[in-house]
Each structure stands twice: as structure tokens, then as C-alpha cells.
């Protein structure tokens, strides 16, 4: 009986196909199989022995049956695996639906800026790109023949109509149509008659205005510092006195140079700082021009979208934004 078991184990270990299994089954469990033969040998034994012998044969028979079933399952699994292997594909090949499109870095930047200010409770407004001189300058405390007009070289349509040189006219448009408090940003295109490596005759700004009772310069610092730290990461922010005719006090805002970390490099002209924003408390004359009551005041700010995008994505030439080279655009998918 021991030999039969050994023989079976040797055979089943070598079995590779279902046909092998069938043959092994016939050889051991068939009518003339080795196990059946064993039963035949039982005839000459005593009752006790017969009982014992029979028990062992049945054990062997059970063992063989179980082993065969197991082996058969095993073989089936291997088969299945083999047939799947045969269907192998190159999983590194690119997808059917490529993500080939892209959002322009200017739009991407505007969306990001909008999202930050919206989360702070700012509304989003749109303005006109062709504006009256009155809205672009006079209502903003820049009368005709004011030297501040030199800061912005203007495209004119006629004597009173121009391409807006900044998004600030939207301040007036909104304040004329809405009672205080107001709290919004307004992104859009602006135009200046200027074109060189760092200037484009058209570029984008985001304007911001917050008017309510009892707004302080310190609030302006708080809101803009938070915004800049969200947009650029945790950078130092500093406020520097400056001049805009429509704000008083006015400030320019610098962030620690994100290229060199403040050590000084070509991008920050070795100052360690990058100028990114202009802002200030809305000039009393501007509030008077839109007939806002005396108890209201607030702050305004304006930023250049291209500058933010250039710093964020490390773009070194403003021309790239408007050439629309697909190789450039597709980097922003």
C-alpha cells in the first residue's frame, strides 16, 4: 500500500494536463486500477485485519481522489492564467483619449486668483475694455494734463474714448450702480501704448475693491498678505509707500524673491524682493465722485496677471503669452 501511494505521488507531481489526470485516475481508481486490486487482496484476511485493511484502503482511495481533484483545479488555474497571458497588451502605450487640450496660463492664473478671493467673500465683476476718459482717469482723480497720465501711455479711439489703461474704471462703474458695502475683484484686459521685452500693448489685470464703514489700511495689509501667501506659498510680504492718484495712502507690495529666496538674483535685480501689487486706501475724492456717504471708506488694489503667471510658472518673456505657440500652450494642460 505504501508503494502504491509513493507511485501515485510521483505520477501526480509530474501530471501536466487533464489527460494525465484521467490516466492516473484510471490507473489507480479504475475497475482494474491498483486500488481496486488492493480490495481484491482483502479476501484472504481475518475479520479484524480486513476491517483494518479496508479502512486503510479507503483512506488511500480518499487521498488519491482529493489529490486528483486538487491537481485538476491547479491545472485549470494554470491553463486560465496561460490563456490570459497570451492576451497580454503593452500597458505603457498611451491612452485612447489623450489630454491634449490646455488652458492658457493667463486664464489659469485668473481662475486661481478668483478662487482665492471668492473664498474670502469677494464677488467677481466685469467691466468695459473701451472706456470713457472720464471713467479711466477723471473720476479716478486723474484730471486732464495731470503728470500721472505719463505713467500710462494711452490708446485713444477719440478725444473722450480710449482703451482702458487699467481695470480701475470698474471701481467707478460698480460704485455708481451699487450702494455700499461693495467687495469685488474684476479681472480683464488692459491696454498701454508700449511694447518691448517686458511690456506688451495688451495685458491683464485683476482689480479689487472693498468699501464699507471703518475699513483700515491694516485690513488692506491683512487681505493682501493672506492672498499673496496663498498664491505664492509662504513668502515674506512687504508694503512700501508709493503713489496712485486714486488712493491715499498708497502702497506697492513686494514679495520675497521666489527665484532666489531673497538672496538676490537677476529677476529681482539683486534686491531680494519682487514688486507684485499696487494698492491703497481709496482716495476721498474718488468716493466723493460716486456720491458715497462720508462714513464709508475702503481699499483698492490692482495686480498684473502676466507678472503673476511669469513668476508662478517661470516664464521669462511676456511675448510668449500672445504668440500662442502650441508647444507653449500645451505645457498648461
Amino acid at each position: 500500500m505504501y508503494h502504491i501511494k509513493k507511485e501515485f505521488e510521483a505520477l501526480i507531481a509530474d501530471a501536466k494536463t487533464e489527460e494525465d489526470i484521467k490516466q492516473i485516475k484510471a490507473k489507480f481508481l479504475g475497475k482494474k486500477g491498483k486500488v481496486s486490486e488492493l480490495f481484491k487482496q482483502m479476501g484472504g484476511l481475518g475479520d479484524e485485519q480486513k476491517k483494518e485493511f479496508g479502512k486503510n484502503i479507503n483512506k488511500l482511495k480518499q487521498y488519491i481522489e482529493d489529490s486528483l481533484t486538487n491537481k485538476q483545479t491547479q491545472i485549470k488555474e494554470i491553463r486560465k492564467k496561460e490563456s490570459l497571458e497570451k492576451e497580454s497588451i503593452d500597458v505603457t502605450l498611451p491612452a485612447r483619449r489623450g489630454f491634449l487640450g490646455s488652458i492658457h496660463p493667463i486664464t489659469k492664473t485668473i481662475i486661481e486668483i478668483e478662487d482665492i478671493f471668492k473664498s474670502m467673500g469677494f464677488d467677481v465683476e466685469t467691466g468695459y475694455e473701451i472706456e470713457f476718459d472720464r471713467y479711466n482717469f477723471e473720476m479716478l482723480n486723474i484730471p486732464k494734463e495731470h503728470p500721472a497720465r505719463d505713467m500710462q501711455d494711452t490708446f485713444y479711439i477719440n478725444d473722450n474714448v480710449l482703451l482702458r489703461t487699467h481695470t480701475s474704471p470698474t471701481q467707478i462703474r460698480v460704485m455708481e450702480s451699487k450702494k455700499p458695502p461693495v467687495m469685488f475683484i474684476s479681472p480683464g484686459k488692459v491696454y498701454r501704448r508700449d511694447s518691448d521685452i517686458t511690456h506688451s500693448p495688451m495685458f491683464h489685470q485683476v482689480e479689487g475693491l472693498l468699501i464699507d464703514k471703518d475699513i483700515h489700511f491694516s485690513d488692506l495689509k491683512g487681505v493682501l498678505s493672506d492672498f499673496l501667501k496663498i498664491f505664492f506659498g509662504d513668502v515674506p510680504v512687504r508694503f512700501r509707500p508709493s503713489y496712485f492718484p486714486f488712493t491715499e495712502p498708497s502702497a506697492e507690495v513686494d514679495i520675497g524673491c521666489i527665484i532666489c529666496g531673497g538672496k538676490g538674483c537677476r529677476v529681482c535685480s539683486n534686491t531680494g524682493y519682487l514688486e507684485v501689487l499696487g494698492c491703497g486706501m481709496v482716495h476721498p475724492n474718488v468716493l466723493k465722485n460716486v456720491n458715497y456717504p462720508d462714513e464709508y471708506n475702503g481699499f483698492a488694489f490692482g495686480l498684473g496677471v502676466e507678472r503673476f503667471a511669469m513668476l508662478k510658472y517661470g516664464i521669462d518673456n511676456i511675448k510668449l503669452f500672445f504668440e500662442n505657440d502650441i508647444r507653449f500652450l500645451k505645457q498648461f494642460s
Binding site: 467673500g121 490708446f155 495688451m202 464699507d212 485690513d219 491683512g222 512700501r240 508709493s242 503713489y243
Partner: protein, 787 residues
């Protein structure tokens, strides 16, 4: 404005290095662009001890203390015993030039004498930089104060006219570092001649010339001493002669523009008047200007001798032969000067200052300073008396401020004492008038200070903006409901990018000659009065021009395909003003796919149609596609888009004739497909919420139907006719076949999903419905069953 660090130190004590000073004044509102140390390139003082002329070249021997060098120069103005900066062979100039030995026949030049240009003090010099004769030969230039200096370039904001001088900047340094101002000596002797016997002044227009002063002196014209020439060079002004240089020197030092006339070249008395129409003047820049009645001039009895506040005339100017000068120091109206300078396109140091505002009380102080310098450096004999024409005194204004008001605006907690001290150092003479109120008297040079907000800014900038701690406001505000277009713009952008298009951003102005090709109505064009370049002279009325430019640009970069879109404004004339509208434009061209799954396929009309269908889905609208009437589209492959009977855009292939305009070769496989939709026009038809439609209660049944119709029949009409039947739940056009025997026909195959809400269909009912559908198609489109 460029200011010399050493010169500043003459007006105020400075304990900071040039770089520290720059940082300090930047943070107080005088933004420093750059600080540059003067690079003397290792040069030393050299004296010419011998000159030989040979072939327009001067072969000199130059004593530099330790040795005598042979140096050749082309400068004609070299004289024996003149001293110049000298570098030996091997020296490296700041412009990168390395000095080497040069041979001129037998003469070997062993070094070089330098001009201001080579020391980076001037853009282009006409001759060598002459040094004072008292300097020791061989002395390093870097040991001389005027060379051991920094040039601080300040980018002044237009409100700070008061800081357009050394004195002005020094005043700010004084206020922020709490020091005091040191004024230069301004005394001089007088001779027994009285100006009143020689000249008189009449002002016709006090509004534009509130004050005019004149002093006179006999002078000896010669070159200025080195320190004056160097200080002017450091300020960006070219030295001329001592008289002109000194007026410029005082302009830089104090901010008062002055003009010196050669008295003997004036005819009669001075009159400040408006120019006559077409009156001409030859200005100091040797150009002739034609004036008009809006402009103010200084005239003698015959003709204008200066454009007031802008520039003097050449004919009355000081020359080497001048013996007597009349020195003008006046005050002109900023608006008048600015208008004149802008009209004439003539800008000067003088007009720059008058436009921004010059202290009307500075005239005589400045001319006294000038006379004291002329006495010293032009042997001036100053006449007794002076002319001072004015109608009124120029009194400083006063402002009442509140300490609390200042702190509230700033969100700060500054003590009264600290605020008062700052205001005192600004020379605003504060006077406390109540517990919270104080009165300030604003010096007449501070044109920018008008109210409490301005005082608050002065306090904040002198304290430092960093002394105000950031806070966050609490605002109660209400939000407006937005137009659907405003909501949708970013969503369209994101969806189109997902669909494989790339977003472009183009200039809003374009080439009118190109725009005309794409426009029905040129009368609507908004032209720029002053375009930057010819090809950007008109505001776009379509996005197509820009997108085609982008396509062309990318073709030039060997792109094999392009699918671009833009969302932007277009502009139309509206009386004197303009109407603006937001548009979506798109262009497709070239390989739609070039990959291992689909192989190579080119963009066609139906790729673009996914853009218009996306809009239909997004806005819940339906476009009517009508055969196009736009001349730039392919007549058989283009459609005008209508919503609510209104033309809102188009979709289609560019007309083959139009490829020429863009210099693109027409390739029938690589067609250019365009699309444009006016977002504002469709906005009014948008229903934002599409209501839920109940799902069929009972199982639906699917049947296919293929019909043959004339090629001219629109598949969408057939589909719509099927959809009209009550039981039809969904119709899908799944095949179009147009290679039938009868080439005028095409076969359309539809999958029709039928529903019945009352009971389950029986076969006969389905058959009946399908028959009814087919019969309707026969009736309407002369359809036949596909055999």
C-alpha cells in the same frame, strides 16, 4: 532721477552707507532703482608734458607721477599741462575694452586718456574728461571725493515734485532720520549797476506765469570747475560752459529751473505772453518749433526768446562771447507747461519739474545761490536790485487733522507725540488745537498734501508701513446674481481643454485690411486714433483673424495640427462709444489624431461640431444650422447658427479662396475649420435649469430603421420627424451611406427606442408604430426602405 550720494551729504548728515540709504528711502516712498559706485577703472591723474601732432593724431607724453607714458589721442582739445584720467596698458574699462599697447609708426602708445563716457558717466562724450589742474600727478581717481561716489537712481512718483532735487531728497532723509538740513552759502557782492536801468518785465498772463524774477550780472564765460561738471554728469546733464552749467547745477541742487539769457542778444524789454499763431522759435536743441496761442512764451520786443518753462531760444542763449547775463527764475502753471511740452513733443529737465510743480517761493533763493556760484566760478559782477513780477503772495495752506482720524484710517495705534514729531520733521509746523485736533501748515513745495489722508500717509511712510499690523476686515455684503455668460466662461474653457483644444489669447486690436475680409459691415469698426503699429489699427469684430494668425504662426513652427479656441471681447462702433460682446472662437486644422490606435485622421467639420453641440448641452439651447451666407466660409460646408431667429455665429470650413490671404496652401485633406459663437447673444435664450424628465415605467423596445432619401435632405430633419411620434423615446442616427447605385441618394439608418407608459407592447403594436413612422417619412421626404 540720479542723485550723487556725496552731494546729498552736503545737505544733510548721513550716517548710512549708500546701499543702506537706498533701502531706507525706498521704504519711505522714494523708490531706488539702482545704486552704482563710480568705476574709475584704476585710472590716475596724468599731466600732458609734451605734444606732437602727426596725421590728425596727437602724440603726447603724460606724467603720471611714477613715470611718463607715451599716449596717442585724437582729441584736438588737449593742451600742454592739461590733466586727464589715465589708464595704462592692461587696464580693463567698464565697457569691457582692455587697454593694450598700440603702434603709430615709431610711436608706441602705452595707455589711454579717458572721457566721461569711458568712466560710464555719460552715454557719449565729445572729448576727454578734463581734471582740475591742482590735482597731484599719479593720484588715483578713486581717492578724489567726486569720483569716490555712488549714483543713486530714484524712480520718483509724479506726486513727489518736491523731491526732484538734491535738496528735496535731503529733506526726506532729514525727516526719516530726524536730522537737520544744511543750506549752502548764497552771498555775493554787488556792483554799481542797477538792473532797473537795463531791463523791465511785463506779465500778460498771470494765470500761467504767476511769478517772474530776473537778476543780472557781467560774467566771464569759460569751462566750469571739475566738481560742477562731474556733478552734472552724475545727474545725467551734459556740461556746456560755466554760466549754463551753474543754472543747471542750481536746478539739480534745489529744483528751480532757471534760464540765462545773453543780455546783449535781447532786444528791449521782456514780456511774458501767449505765442502768436504759427509764431516760430529756434530752440536750444537747434530745432525750430511752430507755436500756437495756447502756449506761453518769454519774448523780447521782437520775438519769443524762450518757450516758457520748456526751453530757451538759440538766438538769445549764452555763448563763449557772452559778457552780460539776465538770469530768469520764474514760476509757471503746471498744466500750461505740460500742454505745451506735449504738443511740441519737447521735454526738458525744466518742463519735467514745472509740470509737476515747483515751489513758487523758491525763485529768488535759487537765483541768489546761482549768483554766488557765478561770482566764484564766472567772475560775476552782480547788478544791484532784482525784478520780481507777481500779483499775489504764495501762502502755505493749512489743514486741520485728527490724531484719531489718522489712526482709524491706518488701523494703527500711533501716539500723539510720535505723530506730532514726524509732522514737525516734515516742516509741517503742527499746532495742537484741541484734545484730538492739530493744525499743520504745508510748505509751498508740497503740492501733494491736500487733506488728512495725505497727512496719514506721511506719518505712515515716515514711521514705516511695517509698523502697522495686518488685520482682516469683517464685511457684510450681498452678492448679485451673475449673467449666465459670466458663470459659463471658465466652464467652457475647461470643457474645451478637456475636449483637446488649446486656449489662445490674442490682442484685441488687429489689421483692418484683414478684418475687412471677415466683416459684413465696416462701418461698425472701432479704429484706434494712435495705433502702435499699422497692423494693429482696429478693434477686432471677430476672433477669427487672431486664431488664423495663431494657426499660421504654428504652421511656421512645423506644427502638424492645431485646435485652438479663444474666449474674448469683440467691439463694435456705437455712436461715439462702443458695444462689447464676449465671443467664443475656434479653429481646427491638420491631424485630428496621429496615434497607434486610430492612425492618422484629419480634422473635419464634425470635429468642430462637437464644440457647438457642447454649447447646446451646456446652455440648454438648440442651434438652427442654416446654409452659410458668410463669404469667408465654404458654401457647401458651412452653416450660420441661429437661436431664436437671431444669427449668433457660424461653423464651417474656410473658403478655399481665403487661404491665399493667409499665404497658406490649400490641401483638401488639411482643411481649416472655423467656428464662432456670440456668447452674449445666446445668453438670453439660456434656460439654466433643465427639468427632470420621467424615465419610462415599462421596458422599452429597440428597432432599427434604414431609409433611402435624396442627398439634399438634412439628416437632422428626418431625425426630428421620427422624434415627433409619441411613443418614440430616443432616436440615434447610427449610419450614413452615400455610395448607393443612385448617386443622388443616401441611406440613413436610425436606432429607435420606443416606450409605452400604459402597458407592455405587443408585436403588432410595434409593427404599426414603425409603419406609421416609415409612412410619415415617405410622405415628408419621399423616403424608400433600404433594400
Amino acid at each position: 532721477m540720479k542723485v550723487s550720494y556725496n552731494w546729498l551729504k552736503e545737505f544733510v548728515d548721513i550716517e548710512l552707507s549708500a546701499a543702506e540709504l537706498a533701502e531706507k528711502i525706498t521704504m519711505a516712498g522714494l523708490e531706488v532703482d539702482s545704486v552704482t559706485k563710480i568705476d574709475t577703472c584704476g585710472s590716475v591723474v596724468g599731466e600732458i608734458v609734451d605734444i606732437t601732432e602727426k596725421d590728425n593724431l596727437y602724440l603726447t607724453k603724460v606724467d603720471i607721477g611714477s613715470e611718463v607714458l607715451n599716449i596717442a589721442t585724437a582729441d584736438k582739445n588737449v593742451n600742454l599741462h592739461d590733466k586727464f584720467p589715465v589708464v595704462k596698458e592692461g587696464a580693463l574699462l567698464s565697457n569691457g575694452v582692455k587697454i593694450s599697447k598700440k603702434k603709430f609708426g615709431d610711436f608706441v602708445s602705452e595707455g589711454m586718456m579717458l572721457s566721461a563716457e569711458e568712466l560710464n558717466l555719460e552715454d557719449s562724450s565729445s572729448g576727454l574728461l578734463k581734471l582740475d589742474e591742482t590735482l597731484r600727478n599719479g593720484m588715483a581717481l578713486s581717492e578724489i571725493d567726486e569720483f569716490n561716489d555712488y549714483i543713486i537712481d530714484i524712480e520718483l512718483t509724479p506726486n513727489r515734485a518736491d523731491a526732484l532735487s538734491i535738496l528735496g531728497v535731503a529733506r526726506d532723509i532729514k525727516a526719516i532720520t530726524k536730522k537737520s538740513i544744511k543750506y549752502p552759502k548764497m552771498d555775493f557782492a554787488l556792483v554799481e549797476k542797477n538792473i532797473k536801468n537795463y531791463i523791465s518785465v511785463k506779465i500778460d498772463d498771470y494765470k500761467n506765469c504767476p511769478r517772474y524774477t530776473l537778476l543780472m550780472a557781467d560774467v566771464v564765460v569759460k569751462p566750469s570747475p571739475m566738481f560742477i561738471r562731474l556733478r552734472l554728469l552724475k545727474s545725467g546733464i551734459r556740461p556746456i560752459n560755466n554760466v549754463v552749467d551753474i543754472t543747471n547745477y542750481v536746478l539739480m541742487a534745489m529744483g528751480q529751473p532757471m534760464h540765462s539769457f545773453d543780455f546783449n542778444r535781447l532786444s528791449g524789454d521782456i514780456c511774458v505772453r501767449r505765442a502768436k499763431n504759427k509764431e516760430k522759435i529756434l530752440a536750444l536743441d537747434s530745432k525750430e518749433y511752430e507755436l500756437d496761442e495756447s502756449m506761453l512764451v518769454i519774448a523780447d520786443s521782437k520775438k519769443p526768446v524762450a518757450i516758457a518753462g520748456v526751453m530757451g531760444s538759440e538766438e538769445s542763449s549764452v555763448t563763449d562771447d557772452t559778457k552780460t547775463v539776465a538770469l530768469e527764475s520764474a514760476h509757471f502753471n503746471p498744466v500750461s507747461v505740460r500742454m505745451t511740452a506735449r504738443k511740441l513733443k519737447l521735454h526738458s529737465e525744466s518742463s519735467h519739474r514745472f509740470e509737476r510743480g515747483v515751489d513758487p517761493n523758491l525763485c529768488l533763493t535759487a537765483s541768489s545761490y546761482a549768483m554766488s556760484l557765478l561770482e566764484k566760478y564766472a567772475d560775476a559782477k552782480v547788478y544791484m536790485g532784482y525784478i520780481d513780477q507777481k500779483e499775489t503772495e504764495f501762502k502755505p495752506k493749512t489743514i486741520v487733522c485728527s490724531f484719531e482720524g489718522i489712526n482709524r484710517l491706518l488701523g494703527s495705534d500711533f501716539e500723539q507725540k510720535a505723530v506730532k514729531e514726524i509732522v514737525e520733521y516734515l516742516d509741517f509746523k503742527p499746532k495742537v488745537i484741541s484734545i484730538d485736533k492739530f493744525k499743520v501748515t504745508i510748505p509751498t513745495y508740497r503740492f501733494d498734501i491736500e487733506g488728512e489722508a495725505d497727512i496719514a500717509e506721511e506719518v505712515a511712510r515716515c514711521m514705516g508701513y511695517d509698523k502697522i499690523a495686518p488685520t482682516l476686515p469683517v464685511v457684510q455684503t450681498s452678492f448679485k446674481r451673475k449673467k449666465p455668460v459670466d458663470y459659463a466662461k471658465h466652464q467652457i474653457t475647461k470643457t474645451l481643454a478637456d475636449m483637446g483644444l488649446s486656449e489662445s489669447v490674442n490682442y484685441s486690436f488687429t489689421d483692418s485690411s484683414k478684418l475687412k475680409l471677415f466683416s459684413k459691415n465696416e462701418d461698425e469698426f472701432v479704429y484706434l486714433k494712435n495705433p502702435l503699429i499699422e497692423g494693429q489699427d482696429v478693434m477686432r469684430t471677430t476672433l477669427v483673424c487672431g486664431l488664423l494668425d495663431n494657426l499660421k504662426f504654428n504652421m511656421s513652427k512645423n506644427a502638424k495640427s492645431a485646435a485652438l479656441f479663444e474666449i474674448g471681447r469683440v467691439f463694435f462702433k456705437d455712436g461715439d462709444f462702443a458695444k462689447e460682446s464676449d465671443r467664443l472662437g475656434a479653429v481646427m486644422w491638420g491631424e485630428a489624431s496621429f496615434n497607434w490606435i486610430e492612425g492618422r485622421r484629419f480634422y473635419d467639420f464634425y470635429d468642430m461640431k462637437s464644440v457647438t453641440e457642447m454649447l447646446e448641452k451646456l446652455f440648454n439651447i438648440e442651434f438652427l444650422y442654416r446654409k452659410t451666407e458668410r463669404k469667408f466660409l465654404h458654401t457647401g460646408r458651412g452653416a450660420d447658427l441661429f437661436v431664436g431667429g437671431k444669427d449668433v455665429g457660424f461653423i464651417g470650413e474656410l473658403h478655399p479662396d481665403f487661404y491665399d490671404y493667409y499665404d497658406i496652401k490649400f490641401d483638401k485633406n488639411m482643411r481649416i475649420i472655423l467656428c464662432e459663437v456670440d456668447l452674449n447673444s445666446i445668453a438670453e435664450y439660456v434656460t439654466r435649469v433643465k427639468m427632470f424628465e420621467k424615465l419610462p415605467k415599462l421596458p422599452t423596445v429597440v428597432r432599427d430603421l434604414a431609409v433611402v432619401v435624396d442627398k439634399s435632405i438634412n439628416a437632422s430633419d428626418v431625425k426630428r420627424a421620427i422624434g415627433l411620434f409619441d411613443n418614440v423615446y430616443e432616436v440615434v442616427l447610427f449610419d450614413v451611406y452615400d455610395k448607393l447605385e443612385d448617386s443622388s441618394k443616401k441611406s440613413l439608418a436610425f436606432r429607435i427606442v420606443l416606450k409605452n407608459d400604459d402597458k407592455t407592447f405587443v408585436d403588432t403594436e410595434i409593427e404599426e408604430i414603425m409603419n406609421n413612422i416609415f409612412n410619415a417619412l415617405v410622405k415628408k421626404f419621399d423616403a424608400k426602405l433600404r433594400g
